[in-house]
């Protein structure tokens, strides 16, 4: 099987210092008894026994570090990436095989659900959200009655109080949208138009919620997602799955108050998928999906008119290195797809944009063969990485499209995928 590149290994690291430390134990001489088979890689480094289960991946190391994966696990993958002869194919030692066959925690037994009680809870919550949204509507009407100009002089509390009320009404995602409006007011040139569109979208949400029961089930699901009413994973996983060879094309990690949110974007033969992960405090984020690999997996999509978010139901076999790039042949084609997505779900916040044959040009833009340019949102480090990897030649680009600009996550050039941090 193909080994992972060092960038892919780096993407598994729980933090930046881990990968730096891992490079210190990534010398071929520092490893003894290392090997791999189709399921795992193993070896001994500085007296510690290391095993990496490649399928999940999962990590085992006898060192005292509490980081997962620790520097030795990362070091083993790094040394495998850089000098494959140090980690040759071999039969797994007994202890390794034993660990790989370890009993996995069985999914918790679900209590039998009382359908009546559940329906009652759902109805109660829907009503609570409805009441909250009616209050929001009064506030929105007040905003446009007094004029958006008045919003400029409002303190943050003006927005935050309403946002907090939405959280109380069990519509946390609406609260986030209201808080975003406070930022829109200060976003410079063109802000009144953006604020009006945002207020309008929330108003549309209120109106739709009023007649929730009369809407198609997919739109009901989109509304539920739009207000931030979580779907139980069991329900999603119990639904239909889509098996495909999914290319893991990009990842974005953002820090919110007490959470880290990880968005991993996958591209299948028919559609893209978003896998969201959350970690509280300093807990590590799941790293099963490695950017720049292809996995044979079944995904369970959350319901909606434009299914995008998904859970990984099952993975078959180890991930392979990404070997081909399928992106939109032009920026206009990608935008048409975006329009179709919005038409299906007007509350869709963020969609993937996966382009082929674009040239990064100065001023943080990428240009397709027809000359159409898309603005890129990234820091200076990303800008130069994109420039150097492309060398002014056409490349593939995967990013998140939002608010009229593209935030690049990875670039495909020279038959390999480079992550843009």
């Amino acid at each position: 099987m193909a080994t992972w590149t060092s960038e892919q290994v780096a993407s598994l690291a729980p933090d930046a210092s881990s990968i730096t430390a891992a490079r210190g134990v990534a010398g071929p001489r520092q490893w003894a008894g290392a090997g791999h088979d189709h399921r795992a890689a193993w070896g001994r480094c500085r007296g510690y026994d290391v095993v990496v289960d490649l399928s999940t991946p999962a990590f085992s190391c006898s060192c005292p570090s509490r980081k997962v994966p620790c520097k030795h696990c990362l070091g083993l993958l790094l040394v495998w990436a850089s000098s494959p002869e140090t980690v040759p194919e071999a039969p797994a030692p007994a202890v390794v095989a034993e660990w790989l066959d370890r009993p996995r925690p069985a999914p918790a037994e679900r209590k039998p659900v009382d359908p009546e009680a559940r329906a009652k809870r759902v109805a109660e919550r829907a009503a609570r959200i409805g009441a909250g949204l009616e209050e929001l509507d009064l506030w929105l009407r007040d905003l446009v009655r007094q004029g958006l100009a008045s919003a400029q002089s409002r303190p943050f509390r003006y927005w935050d109080d309403v946002a907090a009320r939405m959280v109380d009404a069990q519509a946390p995602a609406v609260g986030s949208q209201v808080r975003r409006m406070a930022g829109v007011v200060r976003s410079g040139e063109g802000w009144p138009g953006r604020l009006l569109a945002q207020a309008g979208r929330l108003h549309l949400l209120v109106q739709a919620w009023r007649r929730l029961d009369s809407l198609p089930v997919e739109t009901q699901a989109d509304l539920r997602t739009a207000v931030g009413w979580a779907w139980p994973s069991e329900d999603v996983l119990a639904g239909p799955v889509v098996r495909d060879r999914w290319a893991v094309v990009g990842r974005a990690i953002v820090d919110e108050d007490r959470f880290r949110i990880q968005r991993t974007w996958l591209l299948g033969s028919e559609r893209a998928a978003l896998v969201l992960d959350f970690a509280a405090g300093g807990a590590p984020l799941p790293a099963e999906l490695v950017v720049g690999t292809v996995v044979d997996a079944s995904l369970a999509f959350f319901p909606g008119a434009w299914p995008q978010r998904a859970l990984v139901a099952t993975v078959r076999g180890p991930a392979e290195t990404l070997y081909e790039w399928r992106g939109s042949p032009s920026i206009d084609v990608a935008l048409r797809e975006h329009a179709a997505a919005l038409a299906a779900n007007p509350w869709l916040d963020r969609v993937p944009m996966i382009l082929a044959g674009v040239v990064p040009v100065g001023g943080r833009r990428a240009r397709d063969a027809g000359g159409t340019t898309v603005p890129l949102v990234m820091d200076e480090e990303g800008e130069w990485l994109l420039a150097t990897v492309s060398g002014g030649h056409p490349v593939g680009l995967a990013g998140e499209w939002r608010d009229g600009s593209l935030r690049p996550m990875s670039v495909w050039a020279g038959r390999r995928l480079t992550v843009i941090p």
Binding site: T5, S6, T20, R23, G24, A26, G27, P28, R29, Q30, L78, A81, S82, S83, L140, R141, V144, R145, Q146, G147, L148, A149, P192, G193, L196, A197, A199, G200, R201, H203, L204, Q207, I331, L335, H338, A339, L342, A343, P346, V359, V361, G362, R365, R367, G370, G371, T372, T373, V374, W384, L385, A387, T388, V389, G391, G392, H393, G404, G414, T418
Partner: protein, 493 residues
């Protein structure tokens, strides 16, 4: 513009202006707009905002750039370093092993390879700040690196385009001007001196002194008139810098004047009575260091600046004879002269006579220096005085001396001596082939030596792996040596 009218209305509020709901946008949208209840101004404005906002968002048109695309980077003619070597570069740039960056780059250049494109920004960033590695960096970045240098003004040096010498010299920052002079001096010594002379009168004293020090590279008698004139500079630091160069030129007028002064004094066994005006002009410092007699100090300076060729005829005897029979103060002064004048014969004679001056090692042949230090370690282990000699021993140390150092270190760590932090730094210069021997001999040592030994072994192993990853063979080896020398010259700057 219907959207702009709608937004303008929203800005002032429906209380003052009824919303301007457009009715002719596009067929599908118009149908929705017609369904809006205009008797509810706030609701109508919000609905129109939702519909038209989404319509605009979904129908966004991006600009078409008509300008011709900038020229892409040409294809590379050389291969890239291996993934393992690339990993090592990451470790070096990541922090802990930054000190071996120059060596790593030298190996890459010697192997005729290139740094992979995705590592170039990090490398160019470091090399833009660390001038010592610039020249060798420019050798390993390939077409892609030069192309990048053309895009980022901070990396323009990497583009390798013809340098604007006159422009930088007349308007550049202080450090940029010094680097320019040093680079020019390395390539065309005379042109560098002429450039300096052209603006000499307008330079600040601090710059004048620094520029004169830069002339050390490629110093020759061609520079003598310029330096002799600098002895009349108003500022002491400039005069001292000029003296510092002229004493390295045994045929200079300054050296001849010094010989006139020192010959009778040494022949008659006398000390100078005073520092007269002429001596002061030639840079003799009147105030002695603590614990040294003033007149002995004056004699030392005069002899140290006198051409060594003066002494065999004046005193009768070969350098070896004279070094053997002279007193300690005279030998110390000759040692200073031998180091300054780069006189291998005298330096060798003085080393043989047991003069404790590590700087002499730079004046003797390389094998001789290595042999001398090897013998010192065999006799005295790694005592602090021996370490001074080791520091001054020119590179490469070679396997024999390196093995001797490892053996001595093995002896040292067995003793309950205080760890000497300097010892760990030796790993940066030892021949990496001794890494396995060092690992066997030292890895069991714990206690208070463990930090020093641990870092020593880490660095040595790191370099050994680096050499294995980047084998330098054939003509490339020579080019590597050349680059290392260049690297050294920049370090001295």
């Amino acid at each position: 513009m219907t959207w702009d009218d709608l937004v303008a209305g929203a800005l002032v509020g429906t209380a003052r202006r009824p919303p301007a709901i457009p009715d002719s946008v596009s067929p599908g949208v118009d149908e929705v707009l017609r369904g809006i209840d205009r008797d509810d101004p706030e609701g109508a404005l919000l609905q129109a905002g939702a519909v038209l906002g989404l319509y605009r968002q979904a129908g966004v048109r991006l600009p078409v750039d008509e300008e011709p695309a900038p020229a892409p980077s040409p294809p590379e003619t050389r291969g890239y370093v291996s993934p393992a070597a690339t990993e090592r570069l990451d470790a070096i740039l990541g922090g802990g092993y930054r000190s071996v960056l120059g060596e790593w780059l030298g190996r890459v250049a010697g192997a005729g390879l290139l740094v992979p494109a995705d590592r170039l920004p990090a490398l160019l960033h470091v090399a833009s700040v660390d001038h010592r590695v610039r020249a060798v960096t420019a050798d390993v970045i390939g077409e892609r690196g030069r192309w990048l240098g053309g895009l980022n003004p901070a990396w323009s040096w990497a583009a390798g385009a013809g340098e604007d010498v006159a422009g930088t010299w007349s308007t550049g920052e202080r450090q940029a001007r010094r680097l320019l002079l040093a680079r020019l001096r390395a390539e065309e010594p005379a042109a560098a001196r002429e450039l300096l002379a052209s603006t000499w009168a307008t330079e600040t004293p601090e710059d004048r002194a620094a520029f004169v020090a830069i002339l050390a590279a490629g110093l020759s008698m061609d520079d003598e008139p310029f330096l002799e004139a600098a002895l009349d500079d108003r500022r002491k630091e400039v005069r001292q810098a000029a003296t510092g160069q002229l004493v390295r030129l045994p045929e200079s007028r300054l050296a001849a004047r010094m010989a006139e002064r020192s010959r009778p004094l040494v022949q008659e066994g006398r000390l100078p009575d005073e520092v007269d005006a002429g001596m002061a002009r030639d840079g003799i410092v009147a105030k002695p260091p603590a614990g040294v007699g003033a007149r002995a100090w004056w004699l030392h300076q005069v002899v140290a600046a006198t051409p060594l060729a003066t002494w065999p005829p004046a005193l009768g005897g070969s350098p070896a004879d004279l070094a053997g029979r002279a007193g300690a103060p005279l030998r110390r002064a000759w040692a200073a002269a031998a180091a300054l004048q780069g006189d291998g014969k005298w330096a060798g004679a003085l080393l043989d006579a047991g003069v404790e001056e590590p700087a002499l090692l730079a004046a003797v042949a390389h094998e001789r220096a290595v042999a001398h230090v090897t013998a010192r370690i065999a006799a005295g282990g790694l005592a602090p005085a021996v370490l001074d000699f080791l520091d001054h021993c020119p590179d490469p140390w070679g396997p024999a001396l390196s093995r001797r150092v490892v053996d001595a270190l093995g002896e040292l760590v067995k003793r309950p001596a205080r760890p000497e932090p300097r010892l760990a730094g030796l790993a940066a210069r030892l021949d990496p082939s001794v890494a396995p021997v060092a690992t066997d001999a030292l890895s069991e040592h714990a206690g208070r030596w463990s930090d020093v030994v641990g870092w020593f072994l880490d660095l040595l192993t790191f370099r050994a792996e680096m050499y294995e990853e980047l084998p330098v063979t054939g003509p490339g080896g020579r080019s590597c040596q050349h680059l290392l020398l260049h690297h050294r010259a920049m370090v001295e700057l």
